[in-house]
């Protein structure tokens, strides 16, 4: 009977390729402030404003991204592009987001190289570098939370193995061993542990 229930509204039919391209161009040109700004604009446009994707679809894409290599937001553009416009949609989405953003990034870098000799600019960079390190440490901590939570569920021994792997990969990199080896140690090491868990499984009905 419910003829127009907004809660049950399915996503609107997909946009024309031109509209899709225009939206991505706008996002790529105006999302100053890096990834957080870009993600916000993507969500606002595709989920909230035009409703081409449901919040659930968007969340599912995010979950899948941890399996994909490279920059997550480019993979998001790929997924949204395919969903809304097939192969052409992928091309236009990635191109639309990146062309203006890359151009602006290059121009900003070029401008920076002109002024980097100024003592104030050099000083500013010496101040920014430790801030980047600080922000990087905070990012690292946040990145670390989900796997540590997963390890804690598996028991104390696994938490120890996890911390050990962090220490080993840190030491390998500090010793100049190729990064690839570190990543291999981490991935294979924990993959093996998850496959052969120390048995203490508890069934929780869900």
């Amino acid at each position: 009977m419910a003829s127009s229930s907004p809660a049950a509204a399915s996503p609107t039919p997909p946009p024309s390729l031109l509209t899709l391209f225009r939206i991505w161009l706008t996002i790529g040109a105006t999302s100053f402030g890096g990834g957080p700004a870009t993600l916000l604009l993507i969500q606002q446009n595709f989920v909230e404003k035009y409703r081409w994707l449901t919040p659930e679809e968007f969340a599912q894409s995010w979950a899948m991204l941890q399996f994909a290599p490279g920059i997550n937001l480019i993979a998001v553009a790929v997924l949204i592009g395919r969903r809304l416009g097939g192969t052409a949609g992928i091309t236009l989405s990635v191109l639309g987001m990146l062309a203006p953003a890359v151009a602006i990034t290059i121009v900003m870098t070029a401008f920076y190289t002109r002024v980097r000799e100024l003592p104030q600019v050099a000083g500013a960079l010496r101040g920014i570098t430790p801030a980047l390190v600080g922000v990087g440490l905070a990012l690292t901590w946040r990145l670390l939370k989900p796997p540590m939570r997963a390890l804690r569920k598996r028991g104390r021994a696994q938490v120890g193995i996890g911390i050990g792997l962090i220490g080993i990969t840190l030491a390998l990199t500090a010793a100049g061993v190729p990064i690839f080896i570190s990543y291999l140690v981490g991935a294979v090491g924990l993959g093996f542990v998850y496959r052969n868990p120390i048995p203490q499984q508890k069934e929780s009905g869900s």
Partner: protein, 169 residues
């Protein structure tokens, strides 16, 4: 400069990592080993990536410009565009991939390794920039504020830049 090697270094860094900062440890060790980058380039490029539009990962494009001019920036762009396309392949096998217990382990282990290697690189960046009471204070304060999640990182960088321009120049 050997452009093919240059491109492959960038491609590898993105293909074998995840997220915007994932390529950092690779690029840091490979480009320094080739003598194609200076230590300071990494902080410079990361800063541009935080400010400019688009993903933070575009710091790699900035690094491409600093190390190889416009051709470097364009090669770097190509190198970061290709790996995310693999998400299409992942999407196809996602359900099956998800159900293997080892898959979660591989992904979590990768994050641990990214963390470990990342800390080593951050430490190098910090030391090569110069260790002093001011830089230690900046790193500790920004880490704490960034963890609280209340202050946007762009604002933290602006504050640190102002402190640097005043007292570190």
């Amino acid at each position: 400069m050997d452009w093919l090697t240059y491109f492959l270094i960038f491609l590898k860094s993105s293909l074998l990592s995840t997220g915007g900062r994932g390529p950092l440890p690779y690029l840091y060790s490979d480009l320094l080993a080739q003598g194609w980058a200076r230590e300071s380039y990494f902080a410079e490029a990361l800063t541009v990536g935080e400010i400019s539009p688009g993903p933070n990962g575009l710091w790699v494009v900035s690094l491409g410009y600093l190390t190889g001019g416009l051709p470097g920036a364009l090669l770097a762009t190509l190198a970061i565009v290709l790996p995310p396309l693999l998400v299409l392949l992942v999407a196809r096998i996602y359900e099956r991939l998800k159900s293997y217990p080892a898959t979660a382990g591989v992904l979590d282990g990768l994050v641990l390794a990214i963390t470990g290697s990342g800390i080593a690189v951050l430490f190098n960046l910090f030391v090569s920039n110069g260790v002093s009471a001011i830089t230690i204070a900046i790193a500790a304060t920004t880490a704490a504020l960034a963890l609280s999640g209340r202050v946007p990182s762009l604002l933290l960088l602006a504050g640190a830049a102002a402190i640097g321009a005043l007292w570190l120049s």
